[in-house]
């Protein structure tokens, strides 16, 4: 698609600013996280050894390399606390992504089938909560789910329950919060895909006598798959590392990995362990992230 294959100086200048910014503030920080995960905790500021002392030249580099070790990773895989947290995060992400798909697909489908002039309004209604603060939306659920909250008073008044139910500080609350917060991420890519769907294909299937449910399963769903993939990845990856939702809505008995990282860093001041947690989390997510990156690049560049 390029009409000017050679890279001119002006092109390099345009590219340099965002490129350098991302290398310095995105790529290099991850190298530092990895390096730190191989260091040991120390009671100091910053709380880890060894530090790379560039002034000491080659001897400094040798000292630096000698100080590195995999102790933090051994700890990570021998303490069940961390393994449990990773496991719980993956389960929460998996289950909520499935619920999101169950709610999001019919919604996106309905939007794509709505009258044309209504569609921009519907899209805006879905986007609007996404622009509203994440924190506020999670906070709104505390109002509803707490012990003397609105859900319990409503259920008590309707005589569905006799005693207040502890909705808050439970896994149920985490699922509600996650599904609520990530619904736009699931609906929008699905809608974008379903909206482009060629209706004549559905009509052709109907003309050939295919029952509607079969048309849906054999025509609509396969054609919607790229949208499903985008929605699933866009929700699953960030949910695994979610911190705010489990912290505000979840119980204290079991934590997600984002919370463990947070506690190690802020409360225990164990930076190397926090860095190791982040490194392992990244390793878990690298395949879905690569898939997402490829899907996005294709969707945008081959349009």
């Amino acid at each position: 698609m390029s009409s000017r294959p050679t890279q001119s100086w002006s092109q390099r200048a345009v590219l340099a600013a965002p490129y350098l910014w991302l290398v310095v503030f995105f790529l290099i920080p991850f190298a530092i996280v990895f390096k730190l995960s191989l260091s040991q905790t120390a009671v100091a500021q910053p709380p880890y050894v060894p530090l790379l002392d560039l002034g000491a030249g080659f001897a400094g580099l040798v000292d630096f390399l000698r100080g590195l070790g995999v102790e933090t990773y051994v700890l990570l895989f021998s303490d069940t606390l961390y393994l449990h947290a990773y496991f719980k995060s993956l389960i929460v992400a998996l289950v909520s992504t499935a619920i999101l798909l169950l709610i999001g697909f019919p919604m996106a489908y309905g939007m794509a089938r709505a009258p044309r002039r209504l569609q921009p309004l519907l899209v805006m209604l879905v986007v609007l909560p996404f622009w509203t603060s994440f924190l506020i939306r999670v906070y709104a659920w505390i109002n509803i789910l707490q012990r003397d909250g609105l859900l319990n008073s409503a259920l008590l008044q309707l005589r569905i329950i006799d005693t207040p139910v502890a909705w808050l500080a439970s896994d149920t609350a985490i699922f509600i919060g996650v599904v609520y917060s990530y619904l736009p991420f699931m609906v929008l890519p699905l809608y974008a895909r379903l909206e482009q769907l060629d209706r004549s294909l559905l009509e052709a299937a109907a003309d050939l006598g295919t029952p509607p449910w079969k048309t849906f399963w054999l025509v609509t769903v396969p054609l919607a798959l790229p949208g499903v993939a985008a929605g699933v990845l866009l929700s699953f990856i960030p949910i695994v590392g979610e911190f705010v939702i489990p912290d505000l809505l979840g119980g204290s008995d079991s934590q997600m990995i984002g919370q463990v990282l947070w506690v190690e860093f802020f409360a225990n001041k164990d930076w190397p362990v926090a860095a190791a947690i982040a490194t392992v989390l990244l390793a878990l997510l690298v395949i879905p992230i690569l898939l997402y990156e490829r899907a996005q690049r294709r969707a945008l560049e081959q349009r």
Binding site: W131, S133, Y139, N143, Q146, V240, F243, I289
Partner: protein, 268 residues
């Protein structure tokens, strides 16, 4: 067949929208509740909005957040627009794969990882944490969103206009500034607004990269929410929701108008 589906469709969309809006609606209504108790309705009142006006700490956080958001969104919009131009106009350049990877990865990267990584960079650089470190962190995150928004507009853009400018002897950078930029302005504005909203919203990355004296609004709200629900928080949240809603509606109306004006030109 379509008519047969439509009841189900209506229910699905209505249910989804109700799920999205009911909690926000409840929050807004209860911000006007006179009662100190969050769940007991004590009649309509502006009491908590008045109390908000006297909350110095909260107001200073609002001011800090607005400055961080405006500055980071502006830098992010410049960088993101350049990145989008590079991705759509330069074809295959060396390092393109790494570049597009660095654009797309932050969009889904769990915030705790990004926050931790940036903090460690600032510590390694021996930079004092505060206003500037939060601003840099937010710029890094939001420029990727700006890139996506602007890029999708640049792809749908008729390039013959740019090429016409080149043929008439206009330098490519000048053609971009004079011809392309005005036509993609709605997308650039949308990118800026999105960056602004994301920065205003961010809690996790700010927790890592902020320092004393730079307590942004989400940090302030979060520290209060952890102590329990307070009517005052409902009030500040309602104001934020109103501002964001108005901005979104205004922007989409503006985009619609410019699309109506711009389309014949783009096609002709």
């Amino acid at each position: 067949m379509l008519r047969g589906m439509s009841t189900f469709n209506v229910v699905a969309v209505a249910f989804g929208l109700a799920f999205l809006y009911l909690p926000i609606l409840i929050l807004v209504v209860y911000s006007f509740n006179h009662s100190q108790l969050v769940t007991v309705w004590g009649g309509w009142s502006l009491r908590w909005y008045r109390e908000l006006l006297h909350d110095e700490a909260m107001l200073s956080s609002v001011w800090i957040s607005l400055r961080v958001a405006a500055l980071s969104a502006t830098v992010a919009t410049v960088l993101g627009t350049l990145a989008a131009a590079a991705l759509t106009r330069f074809g295959r350049f060396r390092g393109r794969l790494l570049f597009s990877g660095m654009i797309y990865a932050p969009l889904v990267m769990p915030e705790v990882i990004t926050g931790l990584a940036l903090l460690l960079l600032f510590v390694a650089l021996d930079a004092d944490r505060g206003f500037w470190t939060v601003t840099i962190a937010h710029t890094t995150l939001t420029m990727c969103f700006v890139t996506i928004v602007v890029q999708s507009r640049l792809i749908g853009f008729d390039r013959s206009l740019e090429e016409a400018a080149w043929d008439l002897g206009c330098a490519p950078w000048k053609a971009f500034l004079v011809v392309t930029l005005p036509l993609i302005a709605p997308a650039v504005a949308a990118g800026w607004l999105l960056a602004f909203a994301l920065s205003l919203d961010d809690l996790v990355i700010a927790s890592f990269t902020s320092g004393p004296g730079a307590t942004t609004l989400p940090l302030r709200i979060y520290s209060q929410v952890r102590l329990g629900v307070k009517p005052e928080i409902n009030a500040i949240c309602t104001i934020l929701i109103a501002v964001v809603a108005l901005a979104t509606v205004a922007l989409s109306l503006a985009a619609k108008r410019s699309a109506l004006r711009g389309d014949p030109a783009a096609q002709g």
